[in-house]
């Protein structure tokens, strides 16, 4: 083998491996490190003395974590349900052979292109009672109108829901629309010949065949909800008080503002665990479906 041949054999490996190794090492080493630190006595700086589950128990006992996880539960449920309802409504409306379909699609999807920071800032203004929607309605002459959720401890979290649904429902619409369009034409025709009305057609034939898409959309939205951070920071900053704080904010607060690396990492690991609860069953479900399809084919 000449030197040139040997070189041409080695070079691809030199090019292939570094980026692959970097992306693998990054995912594995970084998560392993954070998981490890969550079991140590680290405070302001990493301190690798073992402390068992102490960070977890004390994190779970803090008021911040309890409020944040309750908020995530409320926000996650409302956000996922409302986004799916809105997305499905938009998709079904657009599926009625409307004119300017592309224009409508573009209008409903554009919020996905702007950052959570922009969304949060703008919705923060609109929902601000002294300058936004409430003020507008007052100026129009309805003086008793109240829409001050954003400064109301019990309702502020629903403001985050409004902004989140506005941003993500176009995404759900796009996926649902693809699902509606992939329903087999034969199936539809057969049902139409049977004399099924539009509503019955959707309920009995179309929606049931879209099961996998409903699940995919739900999983993606749950993932968005668990990772929500910028939107809350820009919209309410987690307030009033702790009313809209979420686990991602608690992680940041403990890691970088309180100098509690161990406890912050424990919170991050719990965040990862909640994602795993959503994603692992979904991955298994997809594998199961792929196998079943392979078996049928």
């Amino acid at each position: 083998m000449t030197g040139r041949e040997r070189w041409s054999r080695i070079l691809p490996h030199l090019v292939i491996w570094p980026p692959i190794l970097v992306s693998c090492a990054y995912a594995l080493v970084f998560s392993a490190w954070t998981i490890w630190v969550s079991f140590t006595r680290s405070t302001l700086l990493p301190d690798y003395r073992w402390s068992g589950f102490r960070n977890y128990t004390s994190m779970l006992a803090t008021r911040n974590w309890q409020i944040a996880s309750t908020n995530l539960l409320i926000y996650g449920t409302c956000f996922v349900v409302l986004t799916m309802v809105m997305g499905l409504l938009l998709a079904v409306l657009i599926d009625q052979c409307v004119r300017a379909e592309n224009l409508f699609r573009a209008v409903f999807l554009y919020p996905m292109a702007v950052s959570f920071v922009v969304t949060g800032t703008v919705w923060g203004w609109l929902l601000n009672p002294s300058i936004g929607i409430q003020k507008l309605v007052h100026d129009l002459g309805w003086a008793g109108f109240r829409f001050d959720w954003v400064i109301d401890r019990n309702k502020a979290i629903y403001c985050v829901v409004i902004a989140g649904v506005w941003q993500a429902s176009g995404f759900a619409m796009a996926l649902f629309l693809a699902g509606l369009r992939s329903v087999e034409a034969d199936l539809l025709k057969a049902a139409q010949i049977d004399g099924a009305g539009a509503w019955r057609l959707y309920r009995r034939v179309v929606f049931p065949s879209m099961g996998p898409i409903f699940i995919a959309v739900m999983v993606m939205l749950l993932q968005f909800a668990i990772k929500t951070y910028d939107l809350v920071v820009a919209l309410t900053g987690g307030g009033p008080g702790l009313a809209t704080t979420v686990p991602t904010i608690v992680v940041y607060d403990f890691m970088f503002q309180r100098g509690e690396l161990g406890r912050g990492s424990a919170a991050a690991v719990m965040l990862l665990a909640s994602l795993a609860v959503v994603l692992v069953p979904y991955a298994l479900y997809r594998r199961w479906r792929a196998r079943r399809e392979a078996a049928h084919a």
Binding site: S23, V117, L126, I131, W166, Q223, Y229, L261, A268
Partner: protein, 282 residues
Amino acid sequence: MPRHLARATIYFVLVLLAVAYLVPLAVVALNSVRSTEDILQTSLIGLPRTLVWANFSRTWSSYCIAEHCAGIRPYFLNSLEMTIPATIVSTLLGTLNGYSLALWRFRGDVWVFGVITLGVFLPEQMKLVPWVIVLRDLGLFNTIEGLVLIHIVQGLSFTTLFCRNYYTSIPIDLLKAARIDGAGFFRIFWRIILPLSPPILIVTVIWQFTGIWNEYLYGVTFSAGEQQPITAALIALSAHVSEAPNYGEQSAAVLLAAAPTLLVYLFGGRYFLRGLTSGAVK
């Protein structure tokens, strides 16, 4: 219900919803040319009495953000300096990764791919402190280069996923034929794979550009002051609202910060959607 009435209802609801979805954009666009006095007298939702184009020039070059009065221009440029190289490099490396994972099968490639996809789903919070340590050791803390590095490594997971899934649809016989003709790794990449790649390259570039431009948490954690990207500057800018809200200038700032990704969406919406759905379904 008679047919034409049903059609009218569908259009009515659609138009109503479309208007509602456009309100936030319209509000920002209109307020960016309204004076703050005008906005404070009425509300954020209204038509401009006079057009105040000066909002843009002030917000661009002289508005004060966290005691630093150079407008959003430096932050906007930071974001460009961060987004463009990170997008290009992560896309190129992603095509190489995807190519070798999809077409040059090796033992354990499925595992390698699995670990890389894990990177897509890991929450940022799991990676924050490790990044602090890495950036500190490399001397890249509070620099644009540090953020570029983060977004390249972080982006690799996405770009590899996109490209690998795209390249698996290339028939393996094409590769075999090329190898029999004596083409090596790079020649096949250059002559066969890259010419087939434009659709996935556009999707990946658009996805990376929007994602990196819109990212906030890394920007605010790993940079401070004048090194921050535009998203972090926007938060800093509204954090000082309590003193004297300047809704006119701030709206102009928000509009400018959102403009690049909105333009990308306007011209590449189809590809944007494809990235979004393949990221979700795959």
